[in-house]
């Protein structure tokens, strides 16, 4: 996310104030527009259920609204929202069996959905085999490795990941290295 873009759209939203929405509501809506995608991608990948990820993404931003409304000062909204979303998802995992890795049917659907018109059948097969190897390698990751990897993939820095996942920065570095090494072997 480009911070300048974010400031720009907050500014635009403030000028073109739509009726019935408070200033804070608009601000949170802007945050939502910018970070819904990465938060959702992280949740659905790390926890493996896009239905619940969708719900938790919204819940986390509602929580952001409530916290800001209550006067909390949040210095790094991005890290905050990931952490709250993660905690909510962990809560959910405890209550019901939330985590489900990609199963065979979903995998086939995924491969069907892939648009690759420029590839000939052989290239397509090779690509599918490559993605299959990566999927298999992802299956060997530990929970912590998976979380660090997906947080990193959403552009978070090591210190932010450490804060979100309650690890030390050193542990994050080691964990990410192990994850990348496993992927490199595939």
């Amino acid at each position: 996310v480009n911070h300048l873009d974010l400031a720009d759209s907050i500014f635009t939203r403030l000028i073109s104030a739509s009726q019935g929405e408070s200033k804070l509501q608009r601000r949170v809506a802007v945050y939502f527009d910018h970070w819904r995608e990465p938060v959702f991608r992280y949740l659905s990948a790390a926890f493996g259920n896009s239905g619940i990820a969708e719900d938790i993404t919204q819940e986390a931003f509602l929580q952001l609204y409530r916290s800001l409304e209550a006067g909390e000062s949040i210095s790094n909204v991005r890290a905050w929202i990931f952490r709250v979303a993660r905690n909510m998802a962990l809560n959910q995992v405890k209550r019901e069996n939330f985590f489900a890795p990609i199963d065979e049917t979903a995998w086939r659907d995924l491969m069907q959905a892939l648009p690759d018109p420029r590839l000939d059948p052989e290239q397509r097969l090779m690509r599918h085999q490559k993605l299959e190897r990566i999927n298999a390698a992802l299956g060997t990751l530990t929970t912590v490795e998976r979380h660090c990897l997906y947080l990193r993939a959403q552009g978070l820095r090591y210190r932010e990941i450490a804060e979100i996942a309650e690890l030390t920065t050193t542990t994050v570095a080691e964990t990410l290295y192990r994850a990348v090494a496993k992927l490199a072997k595939s």
């Binding site: 809506a29 959702f40 929580q63 209550a70 909510m88 030390t168 990348v180």
Partner: protein, 381 residues
């Protein structure tokens, strides 16, 4: 586990692969990154290792973009509908952290000093001389503090933590960057004010961890000197090197300063940080924040010495316009015309409730790391 240094036919000493990833991810300090870059230019072996990592990352990202086809994030409209419903139904709630709010009068003295730095409205351009004068006053004040320690405290209020009965906790951090006193303290409290977890990094690099929910025992980790001593007799396994490195980073003022600049540059979000030499010859950092509108351009100047001493982590600029600063054991938070002040507690009282102390020796730490690694390599097979 990869050995720390591999010496090939060329006689070059190679960095561990983990450091290559840190380098690729831009997590090394400029100096370290410079060394590594020079090595990569000279060494084909490491360059191909780096390329393998990049290829693995590229493959993973390709996989992820394929996966993006299944499942879509909630739409903006759906969220806005929920948001307006939620805010219509909500009654005004009292922020629980207001318990920490202290008398305004006590804060005024500090605020008057902090105001020049902190109360920056979007249109204001703060005069560099005023800031430097202010920095000097603050630094003088710190010199008279017992132990010459500086603190950094933040406060958070979270819901949804599964480890707590009501899902809420409050984090306090304490940070000191003065040589001989460098250390940090991180504590979590539940909403009833009870200690949930604490980690104390001491000037000697040792760590004290207290997790009363899991055990009434305090765990004491070895000092940097003990680890170095151990490493000297047992070679330098990579895990130990990274432990030593991280404890040095936390307790060495020079490293901490570089880290603080890096951290600050990452945190500033908008704008840039660069070094300037002022008319009097003193070195300062010029912090320029800008947004889409020229009206939102803000310039801050802060002396290099202040940056070094406070590590800039003591002043935080929120993306919502909030500014948080710390002075001694107090944290001041200014937002929307409201000033809040928080105080810190002393961990020693909490430690007194612990019944036992467990000391972890470097050998035990090694054993644990090895067990962890074996478990992981076992699981991945």
């Amino acid at each position: 586990m990869e050995p720390l240094l591999q010496t090939g036919n060329s006689g070059l000493e190679h960095p561990a692969n983990e450091r290559l990833l840190l380098y690729l991810d831009g997590e090394l300090s400029p100096r370290e990154a410079g060394h590594l870059r020079a090595h990569l230019e000279a060494c084909w072996q490491c360059r191909s290792s780096a390329a393998r990592m990049e290829a693995a990352i590229a493959g993973f990202m390709e996989f992820e973009s394929a996966r993006a086809h299944c499942g879509t994030p909630p739409t903006s409209e759906a969220f806005r509908a929920r948001l307006s419903k939620a805010s219509a139904g909500a009654s005004p709630r009292v922020h629980w952290s207001r318990r920490w709010r202290l008398g305004f009068a006590a804060a005024v003295v500090v605020t008057a000093a902090a105001a020049a730095v902190l109360l920056v409205s979007p249109r204001a351009v703060v005069h560099a001389d005023a800031i430097l004068k202010e920095s000097v006053v603050r630094e003088r004040a710190w010199q008279h503090q017992a132990g010459k320690v500086l603190h950094w405290v933040t406060e958070e209020d979270l819901q949804g933590n599964p480890n707590l009965s009501d899902g809420r906790y409050h984090t306090m951090r304490w940070q000191c960057n003065v040589e001989g006193h460098t250390g940090s303290l991180l504590r979590k409290y539940n909403s009833a004010g009870g200690l949930v977890w604490a980690r104390w990094t001491r000037p000697d690099g040792s760590e004290i961890v207290f997790d009363p929910n899991k055990s009434p025992t305090i765990t004491v980790y070895p000092t940097t000197a003990e680890m170095k001593d151990y490493a000297a007799h047992n070679g330098h396994p990579e895990w130990l090197r990274s432990e030593i490195r991280s404890s040095e980073l936390e307790t060495h003022p020079d490293l901490a300063q570089q880290e603080a600049i890096d951290q600050f540059q990452r945190n500033i979000g908008l704008g840039s940080v660069d070094q300037v030499r002022l008319s009097g010859g003193s070195l300062a950092y010029h912090i320029h924040r800008r947004a889409a509108s020229p009206k939102m351009e803000i310039d801050y100047y802060i002396s290099a010495e202040t940056l070094h001493r406070i590590g800039l982590r003591t002043v935080r600029f929120g993306s919502d316009g909030a500014v948080t600063a710390t002075e001694n054991s107090h944290v001041l938070s200014y937002r929307d015309g409201t000033l809040e002040e928080f105080d810190r507690n002393d961990l020693r009282n909490e430690m007194a409730t612990a019944r036992h102390v467990t000391r972890i020796t470097p050998e035990q730490l090694l054993k644990r790391s090895l067990q962890r690694l074996q478990k992981q390599s076992g699981a991945s097979k």
